[in-house]
């Protein structure tokens, strides 16, 4: 024990810990509210289930307000080096709340139509948000891992929530097994780095790593950590779970998995690779580069062959993950900012695209085939236009926000003299444009299979319109977010 005690952060007095509690106020409030939602839901019947929904949404709105009001001006490390409150974390957290708010709103009528309008969906969703927040503001390996497990556990259960669906159970099983392997890899890597540095705390690890860069054990550990992160992000060659899980889950869960957790995974990558193992960037740059190229290649090419919209979006996610890795790979501030911008804007686009699937679905009809979009323009010109915005934005067509995201990443890649890499990224983006444009062709130039208009709740229509307009507005004024990002990173 003596050895371990020597490397423990010195224990603070209880008063000091209590004085630091306000730093974790958003986490504490969310935990309390999630427990309250859990208990209140017990007393509600299926008819009054709206209470759970409203309570969850109020919680998220309150969190947005609180985190914005107490936005961190400087970095504060608390709770004996296990927690950090900084600008990057707060900004990412705010977008996680917004994304989850949108997810809950989009999925309400979908859940009702499929008899999974249960309190558990919201409770697990809120606990998942808590896991993401813990990951985002983690300052030690221990908290990163615990936050990740909390989030993953919620997601596994949410995928399996539709119990009578065989395909959902199968994808939940796949997700669980592969997720467990990924967690194992991550833990294995963390244990090796702990062995070499003698600390779990990222700031200590960072200075220790800088002092002993050539230590082979560190590089050993780094490989496993990168594999774990790549698994969670869904980068090639650790992407196999993604299409199956996206397609197999109910769309209401797919939209959750496909949006906010990407922000958390980005934060995990930043904390682990940049904050903790920044001194080893020569090593992880190569790994990220290979994975980024493979992700962009396989994601964009395989997406062309898909006929299922959810599966196509899964492969498109893989290609976007390649871009996100490309920005981090540069190991420059501009690159990190570009990746963060990309992650946030990608989340907004993914929310919109999955929101469209939910808008068009109804009882007994999933609307997740590409053919279901045929002739959407004749049925609803406005929502066809919204889908056009999302698809153009994902393809990277100006003036939509996806263009700026790609441009920022490419700029940062060019700035470290890797022009060939930027060229590869552009070529695969052009390949990818094919399947986004095919969606637009189906919507505008094909005759519809059915002519009925779109019936959806007014709040869903409103949010989808707002989502589309935001993607357009951010494309016209990218500085709105980019300015904040560069100031916090």
């Amino acid at each position: 024990m003596e050895f371990i005690a020597a490397y423990l952060p010195s224990a603070m007095t209880n008063d000091a810990t209590i004085a630091q509690l306000p730093l974790a106020m958003p986490e504490i409030i969310l935990l309390c509210m999630a427990c309250i939602v859990l208990v209140v839901d017990l007393f509600l019947t299926d008819k009054t289930r709206g209470g759970t929904y409203i309570l969850s949404q109020i919680t998220l709105v309150a969190l947005i307000v609180i985190t914005t009001m107490t936005f961190a001006k400087q970095d504060t490390i608390a709770f004996n080096g296990t927690f950090i409150r900084d600008g990057m974390g707060d900004l990412l957290k705010i977008f996680i709340y917004i994304a989850t708010f949108a997810v809950f709103l989009y999925s309400k009528s979908y859940l009702k139509a499929r008899d999974i309008y249960k309190g558990e969906y919201y409770v697990l969703g809120l606990f998942g948000v808590l896991g993401m927040m813990i990951m985002v503001s983690a300052q030690s390996f221990l908290t990163i891992y615990l936050g990740l497990e909390l989030l993953s556990l919620c997601m596994y259960a949410m995928v399996a929530l539709q119990r009578d669906s065989i395909i959902a159970s199968e994808s939940a099983m796949k997700y669980f097994v592969l997720g467990a392997i990924a967690s194992g890899m991550l833990l294995y890597g963390m244990s090796m780095i702990y062995g070499a540095t003698g600390s779990l705390e990222l700031s200590t690890i960072s200075s220790e790593v800088a002092a002993q860069q050539q230590n082979i054990i560190l590089i050993f550990g780094l490989v496993f950590v990168v594999v774990g992160v790549a698994f969670k992000l869904g980068a090639v060659p650790f992407h196999m779970w993604l299409p199956d899980v996206y397609q197999g889950s109910p769309t209401a869960v797919t939209i959750f998995i496909g949006s906010a957790p990407k922000i958390a995974a980005f934060a995990m990558m930043m904390r682990l690779l940049v904050d903790g193992l920044g001194a080893l960037h020569v090593q992880w740059q190569d790994m990220l580069m290979i994975m980024a190229i493979a992700s962009m290649a396989i994601g964009n090419v395989v997406a062309i062959a898909q006929t299922n919209l959810k599966r196509m979006l899964a492969y498109s996610t893989i290609s976007h993950v390649g871009f996100i890795m490309l920005g981090v790979m540069t190991a420059t501030k501009e690159g990190y900012a570009a990746s963060m911008f990309y992650t946030i804007t990608y989340t907004l686009m993914a929310l919109g695209a999955f929101g469209m699937i939910m808008l068009m679905s109804r009882m007994g009809f999933e609307s997740d085939k590409l053919d279901d979009l045929r002739g959407l323009n004749h049925r609803s010109p406005w929502f066809a236009f919204m889908m056009l915005i999302f698809m153009f934005s994902m393809a990277g067509v100006p003036p939509f926000v996806g263009f700026w995201a790609k441009l920022q990443v490419l700029k940062s890649v060019v700035s470290i003299d890797l022009i060939w890499l930027a060229l590869i990224a552009v070529i695969f983006s052009i390949v990818g444009a094919f399947y986004y444009l095919r969606v637009i062709k189906l919507m505008y130039f094909d005759t519809p299979q059915e002519t009925s208009g779109i019936e959806a709740a007014s709040d869903l229509r409103l949010l989808l319109s707002v989502n589309g307009i935001v993607v357009l507005a951010l494309g016209l004024y990218p500085q709105l977010i980019m300015g904040i990002i560069t100031s916090v990173i």
């Binding site: 024990m1 224990a11 004996n80 558990e120 409770v123 908290t143 936050g147 919620c154 259960a157 054990i217």
Partner: protein, 206 residues
């Protein structure tokens, strides 16, 4: 070789061998029992490292509770081993290839690693200093757990809560077509609920 080292190598060998048996024996009950042996030898190693609390908890929780439950499940389920082993041979070459590749890479790296490097850089490899007989490992752990690691400790509690919620959400279902008995109603039943006395005139024989 000191006595402690002999003990360590004995238990370590036992642990690795029994762990190997867990994944190679055909009978799932035996596999579960070998897992018990793995845990027991692991706890012995912890005892050598003077982590007696962890050693006891491992035996109590894993061997005593988790593995017993596990054995119950394994014995109750009729697991078809033949079907589980399907495709084992056809995937074997790929598996061996990947395992060989990984093993080769690991061996290459380890071969190039300087032994003195490990001693200076992996400080955690040093043996722990011995403690007096009245030294309480449990107290030490408890103190760290509730002060230094209070934040991770709380998160672990939340994870357990979520595990309960998820398990109940996934298994507890009230099927609409299930038939079940309600003892309350059964006990409170009255003669009038079940028996209907029909008064009718006796028929005349003609």
């Amino acid at each position: 070789m000191t006595g402690v080292q002999i003990l360590f190598y004995a238990f370590a060998t036992m642990m690795v061998l029994s762990a190997l048996m867990v994944i190679t024996v055909r009978n799932p009950v035996r596999s579960a029992l070998f897992l018990v042996l793995t845990f027991v030898s692991c706890s012995a190693i912890w005892l050598i490292m003077q982590a007696e609390f962890l050693a006891i908890v491992l035996v109590l929780v894993y061997v005593g509770a988790v593995m017993v439950l596990f054995l119950f499940v394994v014995m109750m389920l009729d697991i078809n081993i033949a079907r589980l082993k399907e495709g084992f041979i056809s995937y074997l070459p790929v598996g061996i290839g990947i395992a060989g590749l990984f093993g080769g890479m690991l061996a290459y790296l380890l071969y190039h690693m300087d032994a003195s490097d490990v001693k200076t850089k992996m400080r955690s490899l040093y043996p722990p200093a011995s403690k007096p007989a009245d030294y309480s490992n449990t107290e030490e752990l408890g103190e760290v757990l509730y002060t230094v690691y209070v934040y991770p400790f709380e998160i672990a509690a939340v994870i357990l809560l979520v595990a309960i919620v998820a398990a109940i959400a996934l298994t507890f279902r009230r099927r609409s077509n299930t038939k079940y008995q309600n003892p309350d109603v059964q006990v409170a039943v009255k003669r009038d609920d079940r028996v209907r006395v029909v008064k009718m005139d006796s028929e005349d024989k003609k």
